[in-house]
């Protein structure tokens, strides 16, 4: 059997007395698109850095069968990485970055890259400094999509981009890059944009994984019900894990509840990842919040 793309056991990292990663076990098989979602300071970046061989960690970690802390250079032949927009060297010209990547990356296809760049307004002679934020991301994406890698790590890849660029970014990734051989690991705060492409969801909080399962299992497990004022008490009796009020209707989230019973007291929905996030990661409140809370 093909070894899993990422395999971690007891992955930990401490910064002084703060625990950034606390004994994390994680297995990501090939052919998945995993969303790693968590509030600021939850340990997302620490986890990604460990996976990319950019940070120290204790515990056991294998990425594509290699220890990233020892074999980063070898690993990077099969792993691509886009951190938030600003990491391409600002002094470089576009053709220089392409030339460098071509000479240093054994699996880079200049032809592919040119094809992707032809769709943009990016000029070969331009300096990265002179490109807009959106164009820098387009350039980085064109580079990465032209590399035949097995794992793509995206750390807030669309931060600060307008909605057109963001949509285009994920559409290109999904339609032209992703296949069963590849794995994509995404962290982002803009959950709504990725939830439709994710196959797996990981919630991380305080260095621990709160949720780690496939989207199918999540939809199986969690149910959202919208109830009118008259059945609120009845619904509350079934012990929702979260409740919010929207236009006078109460929206409650249930974990492993009996769908038939819920169907009798209100309308059943698939919960959105954003609502799940708020329900599972926010402080649990028994009182309904005053304002509507939609994401």
């Amino acid at each position: 059997m093909e070894p899993s793309t990422i395999h971690a056991r007891g992955l930990s990292r401490h910064y002084g007395s703060t625990v950034a990663l606390d004994n994390v076990d994680l297995t990501v098989p090939a052919g998945r698109i995993v969303g790693l979602i968590g509030p600021n300071g939850a340990g997302k970046t620490t986890a990604l850095k460990a996976i990319l061989g950019l940070g120290k960690f204790s515990g056991q970690l294998e990425v594509l069968g290699l220890d990233p802390s020892k074999h980063r250079d070898q690993l990077m032949e099969d792993v691509c990485f886009i951190a938030d927009v600003a990491v391409l060297p600002r002094w470089a010209r576009v053709w220089q970055i392409i030339e460098l990547t071509e000479r240093l990356h054994p699996r880079f296809s200049r032809e592919q890259c040119m094809k992707y760049l032809a769709r943009t307004n990016i000029q070969q002679r331009s300096k990265v400094r002179a490109l807009s934020k959106g164009m820098v991301v387009q350039l980085h994406l064109a580079l990465v999509m032209s590399i035949d890698a097995r794992l793509l790590v995206l750390d807030e890849p669309t931060l600060g981009l307008d909605i057109l660029f963001r949509k285009q970014f994920y559409t290109s990734l999904l339609n032209e890059y992703f296949d069963e051989q590849r794995t994509i690991l995404i962290t982002t705060h803009q959950v709504e944009e990725v939830e439709h492409i994710l196959t797996d969801l990981i919630f991380i909080k305080g260095g621990r994984l709160v949720v780690n399962s496939s989207m199918d299992d999540i939809y199986e497990r969690y149910t959202e019900v919208m109830v009118g004022p008259d059945t609120v008490e009845q619904a509350r009796a079934l012990d929702p894990i979260h409740e919010r009020v929207l236009f006078g209707r109460h929206i409650m989230l249930f974990d492993n509840a009996d769908e038939r019973a819920l169907g009798e007291i209100g309308e059943i929905h698939k919960p959105s990842v954003a609502d799940l996030f708020v329900a599972l990661m926010g402080e649990r409140t028994d009182l309904p919040e005053a304002g509507g809370n939609t994401a």
């Binding site: 980063r72 250079d73 990077m76 990485f81 951190a83 391409l88 060297p89 460098l100 240093l104 990356h105």
Partner: protein, 321 residues
């Protein structure tokens, strides 16, 4: 080592030159242009003041009358003084380049891009030191060769006007093949001589939280001053070994063509009155060979390699934060 390693180092060194075109490409061109401009201006002003052309045409004639060894000495002197200006400016450029080399990409976070390439940290550090110690001297040598040719062409022009044999009296004494070989080999040996200093700068840039150049300069100064004052408090004697003086001596002494062979001047003068200045003082393979054979050279190289290993260690652990 295989062919792959060399081609990767080659593109990484080109990367460094792309990043600092002013330091490595334009500075030698600018120095060459400056020297040429000064020479031409002097000749123009000279021609206006000196109507009889005593200092130019007559000067050339006088030079043509000298014996061969004096001609060689003057020609070598001219070639050397031009080259040493390049070398001194290059040293400053390289100092600033190295201090920023492993620091700037940490500061602007582009280290995340560089580390996403399949390039080991050892390879990265090697490419930086090769840029400073090999690529820079070669590029600056280009500037030196260019300006030496231009000056010899100008001299030939005046030689023709003065009606002297320009091949025999100008180009032959200048001996460009020897000058160029000594200059090139000498600057590479000079790089080896300065390796501990270069590697120290690179080392500082691999870990300094900010202002690596300041840290790189202040640390030896403070240690040297501490040694100095401590020796007064402890035994009222100057220390035999002061770090700061050792470093200054290393920078100051250098190897040809960055420096004159002072030792030869000093020893030969002490022998008696036999010392005659000659081109050997400025351009000789012997002093390069002596530098390579000295124990100070190889102690310096060993210290340099230690700092380079330290740079790789820190580079492996550094990210954007």
């Amino acid at each position: 080592m295989n062919a792959g390693v060399f081609s990767r180092l080659w593109i990484l060194v080109r990367r460094e030159i792309w990043e600092s075109p002013v330091a490595f490409k334009w500075t030698p061109v600018i120095i060459a242009g400056f020297i040429l401009l000064v020479a031409v201006l002097l000749l123009i002003i000279g021609a206006r003041v000196d109507n009889e052309q005593v200092f130019t045409i007559d000067g050339v004639r006088m030079y043509a009358q000298m014996d061969d060894s004096q001609q060689r000495m003057l020609a070598a002197g001219a070639m050397f003084s031009v080259g040493s200006l390049f070398n001194q400016i290059m040293f400053l450029v390289v100092v600033f380049y190295l201090a920023g080399s492993l620091y700037d990409d940490r500061r602007d976070r582009s280290i995340l891009f560089w580390k996403s390439l399949p390039v080991s940290d050892r390879m990265t550090v090697t490419s930086k030191i090769l840029t400073a110690a090999v690529a820079a001297p070669i590029l600056y040598f280009g500037g030196i060769a260019l300006i030496q040719l231009s000056l010899l062409l100008i001299a030939s022009g005046y030689g023709l006007m003065a009606g002297i044999d320009i091949f025999g009296e100008v180009w032959l004494p200048a001996n460009l093949p020897k000058v160029w070989t000594v200059t090139l080999v000498g600057s590479l040996v000079q790089s080896l001589w300065l390796l501990p200093i270069y590697a120290w700068l690179l080392f500082c840039s691999s870990w300094a939280p900010r202002l690596p150049i300041l840290i790189a300069v202040l640390v030896p100064i403070l240690i040297g001053m501490f040694q100095h004052f401590w020796s007064f408090f402890s035994n009222f004697r100057l220390p035999d070994f002061n770090l700061l003086l050792v470093i200054l001596e290393r920078i100051g002494r250098g190897v040809m063509p960055a420096s004159i062979e002072w030792e030869q001047v000093v020893t030969e003068s002490q022998d008696g009155s036999s010392f005659v200045p000659s081109e050997e003082m400025l351009m000789s393979f012997k002093s390069i060979g002596n530098a390579l054979a000295s124990w100070e050279m190889w102690i310096g190289v060993a210290i340099g390699l230690l700092f380079l290993a330290g740079s790789v260690w820190f580079r492996r652990r550094s990210t954007d934060s």
